[in-house]
Symmetry: C2
Subunit: 255 residues, 2 copies
């Protein structure tokens, strides 16, 4: 192949496309793995395919990228329009799948996102969509089940070293409610005692003075907590190998 030379496609878009096969164009879709904790376990929102390929199987909601949009906004639009889903607390790009044969009809590149929905919203979804427990997925289409696994993995990781849970619970919540979410996500028992202590110490959550009026099954009324911030923030276990005199302020700044 010729001499080493240029870099990106210097061909103007729509240009003649010289050399080694540049200026090819591809369909591009944005997919969302929408997660919500329902009845104590993690669920994913899936769409039942009406047509071939994979007719009858379930797939991630999403849609193709429009000309004037970025992937993220495109996806929000598709979710709003097609599944009536607007209450998304968190949306983050996950990964882009480019396998040549991931769609039997032809080449479609897909960028997958992770979307989180709080437990206190119950969106009205179309008939051909449904929530499925992430642990027991129905037969899925394309590479979507692999994408879901990948999303779950990221979710689990971030839940332990960030404040990401803010997107999965209402603005005000009890430790018990938070515990359910953590258990659903991590897939194992979580001690409420330890959960409270750790998140308070990390200054991720804080107590509002208020308490639940009275719980259904009796028992001491729980304090209502809230997340100090409702945007993603990492706690610094990344501070291993931290330099000598370096201390991290509560606000995250470094002195």
């Amino acid at each position: 192949m010729g001499r080493v030379s240029r870099q990106e496609p210097d061909n103007p878009p729509g240009g003649t496309g010289g050399g080694d096969g540049s200026s090819r164009r591809y369909e591009h879709e944005a997919l969302a793995a929408v997660f919500q904790v329902r009845d104590g376990s993690m669920h994913v929102l899936l769409w039942r395919r009406a047509r071939e390929p994979f007719a009858g199987r379930w797939s991630l909601p999403g849609g193709s990228l429009a000309v004037e949009e970025r992937l993220g906004t495109s996806l929000s639009r598709h979710l709003a329009v097609k599944v009536d889903l607007t209450d998304i607390g968190f949306l983050e790009q996950l990964e882009t799948r480019s396998d040549v044969d991931r769609d039997p009809r032809g080449r479609v590149i897909a960028t997958a996102y992770v979307a989180l929905v709080s437990t206190d919203v119950n969106p009205t979804i179309p008939d051909d969509t449904a929530w499925f427990p992430a642990a027991h997925l129905p037969p899925t289409a394309f590479d979507h089940s692999s994408i879901i696994r990948s999303g779950l993995e990221r979710l689990r990781a971030k839940l332990t070293y960030t404040n990401l849970a803010f997107a999965l619970v209402p603005a005000y919540f009890t430790i018990a409610e938070l515990r359910v979410v953590y258990e659903a996500c991590l897939g194992h028992a979580v001690s409420p005692t330890n959960l409270q202590r750790v998140l308070l110490r990390r200054r991720i959550i804080e107590s509002t003075g208020r308490r639940t009026s009275s719980s259904s099954s009796g028992g001491r009324p729980a304090t209502l907590y809230r997340f100090r911030e409702r945007t993603l923030r990492v706690t610094d276990p990344f501070a291993t190998f931290r330099p000598p005199g370096m201390d991290v302020e509560p606000n995250g700044a470094v002195t």
Copy 2:
């Protein structure tokens, strides 16, 4: 936008493209942020653009996606062909940029990767490419400097909670050499004592019996260490909130 109905582009590729603007096609390029520690500081490999737009500015190596390729292999090919770079120890997808106007010539979607090169390789690179310290980048093209920052952030994070450093050092190395790499990457002093202890305790590195024959400037010969594994493996600070009796075996399995 009609009634809520289908999902992915059900149009066969090349089809007529109905409804809400589906089956659009876009140019797609793969870019690499190639990192290497040189002279004790982190460097990035950049390419000098010959033509407009951004003529004379520096950009990430890469190239457009060919029809029969996945993004990762496409990128490897471009790096091998165009910058003669084949000794890449690690290649991981970073993120996909889809801003409409990121390329003034028209719409090009870019998927960026992080690539790592060990300190013991010194690839012969073309005239119009050069290594730049990541802390002092030259004027860059497109959104590339933002991509580099993003890559550096991931690199720093992963260096502290994974064995990722294996891709930045030779197969056998001394703690001193490893320290240089960590300092270059994290941007602050790292104690060799602590580095050794932590990585040994985490069972990320292990001592080969061998020692450096004799160093240049005198001093006790250092033990040669090696990474137990040369594929990405996370250490489990993700194990916070770990369930009661759950212990993690040295090999990473969970009992």
